[in-house]
Amino acid sequence: MDLLEEYIKSGRIKLNTHKYHETFTVHDPCNYVRKSVMIYNDSPNNGEKCRWIAQQCIDPSLYREMCDDPLNNFCCGAGGGAWAMPYDQERLDYGKVKVDQIRDTGAELVIAPCHNCRDQILKGLGAEHKKKTPGFDMGNYQETLYLWELVANCLEYEPWSQEEIDAAHAARDAQFERDGIELEEE
């Protein structure tokens, strides 16, 4: 997140804000937002950083707040290894709090800056919503994106120079030779 913020602020990457026209909200992963403060004494503003980055990608007028106190936002329900554990029903029921939060925002896109939260909201809660399982009505919800997926999809690319491309090809070929990689020609 710090890196994405730095890239955007320094102008190293440029973003097209017209790729997405959906309303969007941001989920706060416990590990980035609350636990980084509790355990590493990290910045208490990580939730704000996520919101800022997302709003550099999509017009801020489309932003819908999920929780105005990121440090006290709720877990998605799949944290702490729960995504991999055999307690699926408990994991989904835990996520009903998140379902209600998402529904109440009215947002169509949920931005999740964490692998685990994204899987829970997309493949766990989102799938139940789309199956119309009672208790999993997420309102206008359509899709969950990683924060870095959103950024990647909004990139404006500045072309590399021929010298840069040639240097990269030479470095790549040397690496493939070192590692014994032989790709079939297209």
Binding site: R12, N72, V151, Y157
Partner: protein
């Protein structure tokens, strides 16, 4: 329970002092604000903490509670008396026999210690996949990235990034999001050919030595390759 329970500090599996019984107000802030309340019959955060300080820790260790709790830390963050709930529930996971850890997180941890990632992806398969995806990105129809490849074991790179093994295993195209950002930013990055796993299941299974070992490997990779910054895109 008819008999009084005698709590001896030295016999405890969970490192909490019995004086915590007096510190906890039993206000219920923890359980009241917890989405897991009501999911495990008989248990919630407040009851589990009370049981532990009263010496009934084995009952909590044997229950599903410490595993349905996601260790999100909200209870501990809000506790007006500073009770270390999250830390204590993780300690309950640590106290479980390893063959009774639910799901794949213990097996994955052992796999990681043995082969360098939770899913046991062999080195050659991994390197071939990265090479192949690089070529795909370079020639992508919608947005080609001429000159792109995934630098492996590149000494002196600015950033070394870990990989979540679920991506090379099942969702390889998802690795391209970060790579596209690196390409646009002209970032000097690299991936280690070994011990590249970014998901530390030792943290979640309560296995402290494995947790530490995995963190150490990530740092060792950065030192070996003389990289300034470690990126954990988790």
């Amino acid at each position: 329970m008819d008999q009084a329970v005698e709590v001896k500090r030295k016999d405890r599996k969970i490192p909490v002092g019995p004086e915590m019984a007096d510190r906890c107000y039993t206000c219920g802030t923890c359980g009241g604000g917890c989405p897991a309340t009501g999911l495990v019959p008989g248990w919630d955060a407040r009851k589990a903490i009370r049981a532990i300080v009263f010496g009934m820790e084995q009952e909590v260790i044997d229950s599903k509670w410490p595993w349905v709790c996601t260790l999100c830390g909200r209870c501990q963050y809000q506790c007006p008396m500073g009770i270390q709930l999250m830390k204590t529930f993780r300690a309950c996971r640590t106290a479980r026999d390893r063959d009774k850890v639910p799901g794949p997180i213990h097996k994955g941890t052992m796999m990681n210690l043995e082969r360098g990632n939770n899913l046991g992806i062999p080195r050659d398969d991994f390197l071939f996949l990265l090479a192949d995806l690089g070529v795909e990105m370079e020639n992508d129809e919608e947005q080609p990235c001429p000159g792109f490849y995934v630098p492996v074991d590149k000494e002196g790179a600015n950033i070394i990034t870990t990989i979540n093994s679920k991506e090379p295993f099942g969702e390889p195209d998802d690795m391209k999001f970060w790579w596209r950002i690196f390409y646009a930013a002209k970032e000097d990055f690299t991936v280690s050919s070994t011990n590249w796993e970014g998901v530390n299941w030792g943290l979640f299974s309560g296995d402290d030595p494995a947790w530490k070992e995995q963190v150490g490997r990530v740092i060792e990779n950065a030192r070996r390759l003389k990289c300034k910054t470690i990126l954990y895109p988790e």
